[in-house]
Subunit: 341 residues, 2 copies
DNA sequence: GTTAGCACTCACATATCACGAGTGCTAATC
DNA sequence: GATTAGCACTCGTGATATGTGAGTGCTAAC
């Protein structure tokens, strides 16, 4: 087992390393942290902590740095609780709750906010639109060949889709829109299948051929809605992180972030039920060996749906990141559940 | 004056430098380029070219690199004409002309395309929406407190704006939308002022108080439309460019790109009438001293409006970039003028 | 159990050196 | 007179040696 004093020393070492990015020596600890013990004693404890696997030495005559196991212990029991300031909360509220209407904009803005507050890389996905219920629907003529289909969910999320529909008239589009809305309102988007559209064809006797033409287009358009979209922000922050300012490391990470498949794969591993932290090798991805990932999710109508992910070096300010992720995920949950709309 | 042979040598040197990023020596030129003269002769000519200011020597015993003046001569008269392949054209067409409907998406996609094709940094701005004519308009209820105003221009560009409007009914919104559209159709967005909205108030006698409430909201929403929006893509490409893989240089550029004001300032200098190239010091911005910028613009309804900007190292493949920028700007001009819609 | 003291280690910074790519100049050649 | 071969010279780069110091582990004293 690990003693109380060892824990305090470990915490001091990790805090110092998070600050300085340099291997921490025993003298540094004894001078900077008021533990009331000499550097020699700390040296002994450090040797023990290394044997236990919580620390490691880059080379014989260097100080210690935390191992993944050390970080694990740290995040599980040692991080300083943090809470974000009122000003930050107000900024988040004002940016997320006002002036934004499309789900994509919300996710985009949220991701930007997280990246700016943490100075790390952030990913936010938008909730699976097709699990929401339809609340409003309109078709608008755009040009002679294009029609815009606009869908609004009961959670206040807007999606617009382009349909290739020639020779239509706005009057007819309005009629069809109204009929469609009346038959489909309250239905979840994913349940809007050809069957339910066909049913409504009867009600539109006068417009038979347009409806025939519309059905497959509508079906294809709705199918496209269940792709996961993700919003990645703050890549540029990687450049200011000493771990990655070897431009090769940075490039590797940039390339990883460029590949949407890799990111989707990574997103699949997010535990939707709680904030979770993965450290270095725990992530299981070579490129991210030097990183830690903090994940969370937010709920739409009580069901967990959208995901939040922050990627940074292992020596990140976990307390701070957690509090920000937490606050944003709560805000998004409220937002998409319509509480604040 | 500069002789024909000197021109050929200068061209060879710049081409080689663009390839290798290394100072070019006389022997390299004599071996790689079939100019039919010996390295000694080339050496003499290079000394002359340096005296004329077209070349410079990083240090005494190194080869030559082009000066800004050398690049200037090169882009003015020596670049190899390039034309993009049919496959590339098709890719651009298919990505820009299909599935996209909002102006923001078009600019976003175009910028992404340019960045991918050139492996450089690209900026595309969207046309001043408020100079276009209104073609369609609808208001949609989203939640009890929010209404979505959707505007469509005669060029097929869609903009949606959120209005804070409580206690409305979709039926009333439809009525108001129709009346608004009827009075405003064909009007340029910037001409839709309070006066014209007021005029239409008469026609909506039954909805007096809602209209009163709506007018200031509408005015504010329309005011927000003339902000320049810009889409920056390809920053990550900077990392693979040897000029910037000193992570400090890269960071400086990333910071520059982060600052929207700097970029808007830069965009102001774009000559709307033709493709233009600025090299290094010609740009007049310290951070971009090592860069060249290629700018162009595209037209909406015959008036030049949107801007395109490519930023890269001085030793970029000018011919290639020009052809891509050219093609994209033409495609966007067509797109926003509705020819292909 | 704690701490002072000391020999030891090793990354990092600095100085030194050899190499070679590239130059300018001169003299021979076409 | 233009071109080219030849050669001494320059100087950045990369390799090698050297010194410094932060930090360690261990021992012995407290």
């Amino acid at each position: 087992m690990i003693s109380d004093r060892q824990l305090r020393i470990l915490k001091a070492i990790i805090n110092d390393f998070i600050d300085t990015a340099q291997p921490v020596g025993s003298r540094t600890i004894s001078k900077k942290y008021p533990l009331g013990i000499s550097s020699a004693t700390i040296r002994n404890e450090m040797a023990d902590l290394e044997e236990l696997g919580y620390l490691q030495q880059p080379h014989t005559s260097a100080g210690r740095i935390p191992s993944d196991l050390g970080y694990r212990l740290y995040v599980d029991s040692l991080i300083n609780p943090h809470s974000i300031s009122v000003e930050e909360k107000e900024l988040i509220q004002s940016l997320l709750l006002h002036k934004i209407i499309e789900a994509t904009d919300v996710a985009n803005q949220a991701s930007e906010l997280i990246a700016n507050f943490t100075h790390l890389v952030s990913i936010v996905t938008i909730p699976q639109f097709n699990k929401c219920k339809l609340a409003n629907l309109k078709m608008m003529k755009i040009t002679d060949a294009k029609v815009l289909l606009i869908l609004v969910t009961n959670t206040g999320v807007v999606k617009s889709l382009q349909l290739a529909l020639t020779n239509t008239d706005q009057f007819i589009l309005d009629k069809i829109s109204d009929t469609l809305l009346n038959s489909l309102i309250g239905e979840t988007i994913e349940n809007i299948d050809v069957r339910s559209i066909l049913k409504m064809k009867e009600k539109l006797q006068g417009f038979g051929n347009i409806v025939d033409y519309l059905i497959p287009i509508l079906r294809d358009a709705l199918k496209g809605l269940n792709e996961t979209e993700l919003y990645l922000k703050g890549e540029e922050n990687l450049l200011t992180i000493s771990e990655f300012n070897d431009s090769d490391k940075a490039r590797q990470l940039f390339n990883f972030f460029k590949s949407e498949e890799s990111l989707l794969e990574l997103l699949k591993t997010v535990d939707p039920n709680r904030i979770s932290i993965k450290i270095g090798s725990e992530i299981g991805i070579d490129v991210l060996e030097a990183c830690s990932i903090i994940t969370s999710s937010y709920k739409v109508d009580g069901k967990s749906d959208g995901k939040i992910l922050v990627i940074g070096p292992k020596r990140m300010d976990y307390g701070n990141v957690i509090s920000i992720v937490n606050y944003i995920s709560n805000t998004l949950s409220e937002l998409f559940s319509g509480i604040n709309l």
